[in-house]
């Protein structure tokens, strides 16, 4: 039965990885959808969330005696999400400025922003990786036959699963969500029909920031916050977007799963070729279906 457990654990890992990827990719796609801006600095917001939880919140919370696990796994990520929401609100003028420029200038501007973020992390939290796995450790394990699997990962999957449903409901069942979808389909027409698209754009930036910060906060207890993390995840996020299709909700979901699956499997069987495999798949999809697997379906 060892083989069966092995497969089950791999599947759980794929779901876990996809959960984290989704929170990054959906924000990137949302911003691209409504303002046609490819924001290279987006994964820096994810790293920001991770740093806030590991470097600041957990240090403060460590001062209190024995907080319940339930508190540790819920409050810090949400606090990180809200902080990053504020940060992305602060950078939104730059993003809207960049969105008015041509695409190459957008890439360069947001790349400059990424550099600034990276050094901010270095300044605020130092050059060494920040580890804070209390929430992860204290969540405990559950046994799968002979092996152990961390409960924290299960929690993340459930949390993100809830977010996926909530986001879908928001986009499809509310009036504001409809405005988001309309703006990403045709911004001029939406504007002409009387919707305030500037508010939609700001809203998209804030939601993307919230999700990225949340993702960072959920991710960090099981790993660590490091410099260069923004770039590492930027590379994954781009592969997700290429596979799933730019500006698509379904695409972010499909892309996250495929990238997570490829990553889990290649790390298990041929770790040297992990990135190479990801890109070969991305290039193949670009060649066969340039609009991505979820492309054309919109939100």
């Amino acid at each position: 039965m060892v083989v069966f457990e092995d497969i089950l654990i791999r599947i759980l890992n794929i779901f876990y990885g996809a959960s984290i990827f989704f929170l990054i990719a959906v924000g990137l796609n949302l911003i691209y959808g409504v303002m046609k801006l490819v924001n290279l600095a987006h994964t820096a917001l994810f790293a920001f969330g991770a740093y806030i939880v590991a470097g600041t919140l957990m240090k403060i919370l460590a001062g209190f005696v024995e907080l319940p696990v339930g508190f540790l796994i819920v409050i810090p990520p949400i606090a990180a999400g809200l902080t990053v929401l504020a940060v992305s609100g602060a950078i939104s003028p730059l993003l809207t400025y960049a969105a008015r420029k041509s695409e190459d200038v957008q890439l360069i501007l947001t790349f400059g922003l990424l550099l600034i973020f990276e050094d901010m992390f270095r300044g605020l939290w130092g050059p060494v990786p920040v580890v804070s796995n209390e929430a992860y450790m204290r969540s405990g394990m559950f046994s799968l036959g002979g092996s152990q699997y961390p409960l924290y990962n299960i929690y993340v999957m459930i949390f993100v699963g809830g977010m996926v449903i909530a986001l879908w409901l928001f986009l499809h069942k509310t009036r504001v969500g409809m405005l988001f979808r309309a703006t990403s389909m045709d911004i001029e027409m939406t504007s002409a029909l009387g919707a305030d698209v500037r508010k939609v754009i700001i809203g998209a930036i804030l939601i993307a920031g919230l999700l990225a910060g949340l993702g960072g906060g959920l991710y960090v207890p099981a790993a660590s916050a490091t410099l260069g993390m923004s770039i590492e995840y930027l590379v994954y996020a781009f592969v997700i977007i290429v596979i799933g299709g730019l500006g698509s909700f379904v695409g972010s979901l499909i892309g996250s799963f495929i990238v997570s699956a490829l990553r889990t499997l290649s790390l298990a069987f041929f770790p040297e070729l992990e990135l190479a495999l990801l890109y070969v798949v991305a290039i193949a999809i670009l060649l066969i279906k340039p609009e991505g697997l979820g492309g054309g379906k919109g939100w």
Binding site: V38, L94, Y97, K101, E103, D104, V105, L107, I108, L109, F111, G112, L113, L114, L115, I116, E118, D119, M120, R122, G123, I231, V235, F238, V239, I241, V242, L246, P271, E272, L273, E274, L275, A276, Y279, A282, I283, L286, L287, P290
Partner: protein
């Protein structure tokens, strides 16, 4: 009736390339004797200028922004490293040739695929491919030396054995060698961008659809620009590894790609000389900024400020000083006959 045409001497006259090369040739002994330590930075500037010049045929002239040109810097560097490690080659000329050929071969292999994409997709694809190579340099450490890289001792230049030169003479020779290379490659590039091919490339950048209606093969033209830029950056990669005396995966990392983009924008991608000036100034700014811990912050702020304040790059300041030249043309008789509607 007289027609007045505005001409931009910075874009249309090669004499400014000669002026820059002459200034750089005269500057080195001065920098060497009065600004100790900066001479190496100047040499780096020359080498990066070759890379940026090659990059700009793709970005400034053809309109394809690549975030992965460190791929070719890495290939050039590792070509030199492998030639030394496995073949025992000690000649700079062969390193450069190896770097150019390696870049050309890989560029041919990936180029036919990537040039079908433009804008963000091209940028991402190039970033992705460059990162694959970077990860391979790291992971296959038994071939590439991993993060320790391959050390490259002083090579023989123009057949002169490296052992027979003292350090200062070597530095002088290496500088003027690189400068001569920049001049030759710059001259070739000038001829190319002003040839029918170069004009066709600009047509592709300005309006892809119209260019294809005229009968140009867009992918072919883009591929030519891609190959050309790969060769230039590959050569720069070999020189860079030789000048640093080591090739590590760092040279192929995305930050190097960012550097090339950055210096081109800094100088002005719309001008032939923009990348050259940008590369030299960038290396000076960077080495000043690197004295501080937060140099990325400084560089990031500078890049945003430049885009906001001087979107055409530093060279546009020179343009303002020189100004445009007005050329008056007397239209010929036959043009006046048929076309006078006033």
């Amino acid at each position: 009736m007289v027609i007045v045409i505005k001409r931009n001497p910075l874009i249309e006259e090669i004499s400014y390339l000669y002026i820059i090369i002459a200034i750089l040739a005269l500057a080195y002994p001065l920098v060497f004797s009065f600004l100790r330590g900066w001479d190496t930075i100047l040499t780096y500037g020359i080498i990066w200028a070759i890379a940026a010049l090659g990059f700009n045929i793709l970005y400034g002239y053809t309109g394809l922004l690549s975030f992965g040109h460190a791929l070719f810097l890495g290939l050039g560097g590792y070509a030199a490293g492998f030639m030394l490690k496995y073949l025992g080659v000690r000649d700079l000329e062969l390193y450069i040739l190896g770097g150019a050929v390696a870049s050309l071969v890989i560029a041919l292999a990936i180029g036919s695929v990537v040039v079908r994409y433009t804008r963000i997709f091209f940028a991402i694809l190039m970033l992705a491919i460059a990162q694959v190579f970077w990860s391979l340099y790291y992971k296959f450490y038994w071939i590439t030396g991993g993060s320790d890289g391959i050390k490259i001792p002083r090579p023989n230049i123009l057949g002169i054995p490296s052992g027979s030169l003292d350090a200062i003479t070597y530095q002088y020779i290496f500088y003027y060698y690189s400068l001569a290379l920049l001049f030759i490659l710059g001259y070739i590039m000038w001829r190319i961008v002003n040839s029918p091919l170069g004009i066709a490339l600009r047509a592709v950048k300005d309006n892809e659809t119209r260019a294809s209606f005229i009968g140009f093969s867009i992918t072919k033209l883009r591929l030519y620009a891609f190959l050309l830029s790969a060769v230039y950056v590959g050569i720069a990669g070999s020189l860079l590894a030789v000048h640093s005396r080591i090739i590590t995966p760092e040279q192929a990392f995305w930050t190097s790609s960012g550097k090339i983009v950055f210096m081109t924008i800094l100088g002005g991608s719309g001008y032939f000389l923009g990348p050259i000036i940008g590369a030299i100034i960038y290396n000076f700014i960077e080495s000043i900024a690197m004295k501080y811990v937060y140099w990325q912050l400084i560089m990031g702020s500078i890049i945003i400020a430049i885009i906001a304040v001087m979107p055409k790059g530093l060279i546009s300041v020179i343009e303002k000083i020189i100004g445009y030249r007005e050329i008056k043309i007397q239209p010929k008789q036959y043009m006046q006959k048929g076309g006078d509607r006033s």
